[in-house]
């Protein structure tokens, strides 16, 4: 699952994530992070056999976790299948199909919105 972790200022100095990885069988990927001494947030993707236990641990440790229910959507009426967005996507969530249709993969998307901003026909929308 993908989730935003919110760190309060007092949490910043604690090695919660290190402990999580040491103690649970999880694979953990940081997609975006913006943390400074005043706190901050981090977008993560967590999977593995003990992912659920791991999430419980993070929440117990005092980090506010909110799962991402984001949907990236291509408006097929507006999209002209040019592909201007394809090379801008940092996680290769946009691809060109065999019939040259541009396909946006919701699962891979990290919500950076570079495609939304750069689309000539404003055909891609990210809704959180």
């Amino acid at each position: 699952m993908k989730a935003w972790l919110k760190f309060s200022p007092k949490m910043v100095n604690q090695a919660v994530i290190t402990d999580l990885i040491k103690n649970y069988d999880v694979s953990f990927n940081i997609l975006r992070a913006d943390i400074n001494p005043k706190g901050g947030k981090m977008l993560i993707e967590i999977s593995g056999s003990e992912a659920e236990k791991g999430i419980e641990y993070i929440e117990k440790a005092g980090i506010d976790l909110s799962p991402v229910n984001r949907v990236v959507k291509k408006d097929t009426d507006l999209c002209i299948d040019c592909g201007a967005c394809v090379s801008l996507c940092p996680v290769k969530a946009i691809s060109v199909e065999k019939d040259w249709t541009v396909d946006v993969n919701d699962k891979e998307c990290v919500g950076c919105k570079l495609c939304t901003y750069s689309c000539p026909t404003k055909a891609i929308k990210v809704v959180e």
């Binding site: 002209i80 299948d81 040019c82 592909g83 801008l88 901003y117 000539p120 026909t121």
Partner: protein
């Protein structure tokens, strides 16, 4: 050898053999050009790309009392009205006059909305004459109540075009789309092997009067487009960069919104996606061979759009097979590619035109004059007022500071020399950072004592040989007021500030009598 009349007879008889340019590549590969010239009558091409040099003539009809429109706005986008009383030309790249909308809705969007049959607000004004007394009007128009709505595009359908890359360390926004820093991506525009003018590279069949598919309707080539260039280097018989162009005309009342689209390149401007297909009569084996050109055989130069100059450095030569594969390799690094034109739509157009011809709905026309195939190359515009370079501007003598200097001393030096910016350098005069009077105030407020704790380390710089106009744009873009001038061997040579540029402009205006 065949004639267009013979091909038209076969179209009428339902016997013509029509293939797309993509299919033709395979046919010639398998059977050879001679056999293909015998078997195939027409090759259809297609492209669906952003073509900024597009627009439309509209005639509104006369009001009662009549008005001689001198300023005309369609949904807030200005159209040119210096044409009699009720004629106007709306250009694709004209932005909305409403600042909050700007390039998000431009002439191209007005053209699309007209073709979609939407009502468009018309606001016009005039100075009033004895025969045209009305001075203002506000009403609505649509495609049905306009007398004429004629798309007339001065420069469309470039025969090949460069791909774009950005070698600078910041994202830039261009007519070639968003270009990521440090060669983060490549964008390209041509439909390659499907593109009309790459299938008739010496203009053996296309000219004034060639009937074409234009935005879902029948249209015509009315001559060479502006900047038509016949002198570009060729490889495999086709130009390696932007070369020939077309001027096109079509009736918007017949057009299909599926094949035309108003769009906006972010931070650049509005543009019109034009759907265009040209049928190429296979009159002989030479033409057959030309229409067999493949994506792989068409060279495309990848150019550095990070250089805001007319001639951009070539980073690499590629081809459309490579570009369309999704990535190219430059200096051992895989770089992702983006097409700006829709290959899917281009194919759709080539197939649609093919079916029109197969159904007998579309006959080929004999052009009255073929496009120029030699002796045409656009000249650049020379600016009479010489461009001033950074090292030619008079600026204050250079004063620098070191990272371990005391804030108080730095403040004194700034006051003494009445300057607001100080470059921070090392012992070799190499730039480490910059400090402004605001940084000093900030340091005092926070009780910092050393310069290195408050200086800005990521500095926007100016090179000695850059035009001052480029620096003015940079100052505006980064919302700063001064930049250190850096020499070729990376030494700090001075500072250029917004005030220096204002002073230069004042001097220019005085000289020009403005």
């Amino acid at each position: 050898m065949k004639t267009i009349e013979e091909i038209n007879q076969r179209i009428k008889d339902g016997d013509a053999v029509v293939v797309t340019a993509a299919e033709m590549t395979q046919i010639v590969k398998e059977n050879g050009a001679d056999k293909a010239a015998e078997d195939i009558d027409v090759v259809t091409t297609g492209t669906f790309g952003a073509m900024c040099s597009s627009g439309a003539f509209l005639n509104f009809g006369h009001t009662d009392p009549p008005i001689k429109m001198t300023k005309t706005y369609l949904n807030g986008v200005e159209a040119y009205s210096g044409l009699a009383a009720v004629d106007t030309y709306i250009g694709a790249t004209q932005p909305s006059r409403i600042p909050e909308i700007g390039i998000d809705y431009g002439g191209a969007h007005v053209i699309e909305d007209l073709i979609r049959g939407k009502d468009i607000e018309l606001v016009a004004s005039s100075y009033g004459t004895d025969c045209y007394p009305l001075t203002d009007l506000k009403t609505h128009v649509n495609i049905d109540n306009l007398n004429e709505a004629i798309m007339l595009n001065p420069r469309n359908c470039y025969q090949n075009y460069a791909a774009a890359i950005n070698t600078t360390d910041e994202t830039i926004y261009t007519y070639m789309g968003t270009l990521l820093p440090n060669m983060g991506n490549v964008s390209f525009s041509s439909a390659g092997g499907l593109s009309p003018l790459l299938n008739d590279p010496y203009f053996q069949t296309i000219g004034m009067g060639t009937k074409i598919f234009l935005c879902g309707a029948e249209g015509y080539v009315i001559g060479e487009g502006t900047q038509h260039n016949t002198e570009v280097q060729r490889k495999n018989g086709v130009p390696v960069n932007g070369a020939g162009t077309l001027m096109l005309k079509g009736d918007m009342k017949q057009m299909d919104p599926d094949y035309v689209r108003g769009a906006t390149m972010p931070k650049y401007g509005s543009t019109l996606y034009v759907g265009l297909g040209i049928p190429i009569p296979v009159l002989n084996s030479d033409i057959a061979q030309r229409t067999a050109i493949s994506d792989e055989d068409i060279v495309c130069q990848i150019m550095d759009y990070g250089t805001p100059k007319r001639s951009k450095p070539i980073v690499m030569e590629s081809n459309y097979k490579q570009l369309r594969s999704g990535s190219v390799e430059i200096n051992g690094v895989e770089i992702e590619t983006s097409p700006l034109s829709s290959y899917k739509k281009a194919l759709e157009i080539a197939l649609e035109l093919k079916s029109w011809i197969n159904n007998g709905d579309f006959l080929l026309s004999n052009p009255v004059k073929l496009l120029k195939s030699e002796g045409s190359s656009p000249r650049p515009l020379e600016i009479r007022r010489q461009t001033v370079l950074v090292n030619e501007i008079k600026s204050k003598p250079l004063i620098t500071t070191s990272p371990n200097d005391d804030i108080g001393d730095v403040a004194k030096r700034m006051v003494l020399n009445s300057i607001n910016h100080l470059p921070v350098v090392d012992a070799d005069q190499k730039l480490l950072g910059i400090v402004t009077s605001w940084d000093i105030a900030n340091a005092v407020a926070k009780g910092k004592t050393l310069l290195k704790d408050v200086m800005t380390k990521r500095v926007v710089i100016a090179r000695e040989d850059e035009p001052v106009d480029v620096i003015a744009r940079r100052i505006d873009k980064h919302e700063i007021s001064g930049l250190p001038i850096i020499s070729k061997n990376n030494r700090v040579m001075g500072m250029i500030t917004a005030e220096d540029i204002s002073r230069l402009m004042c001097a220019r205006n005085l000289k020009d009598g403005v």
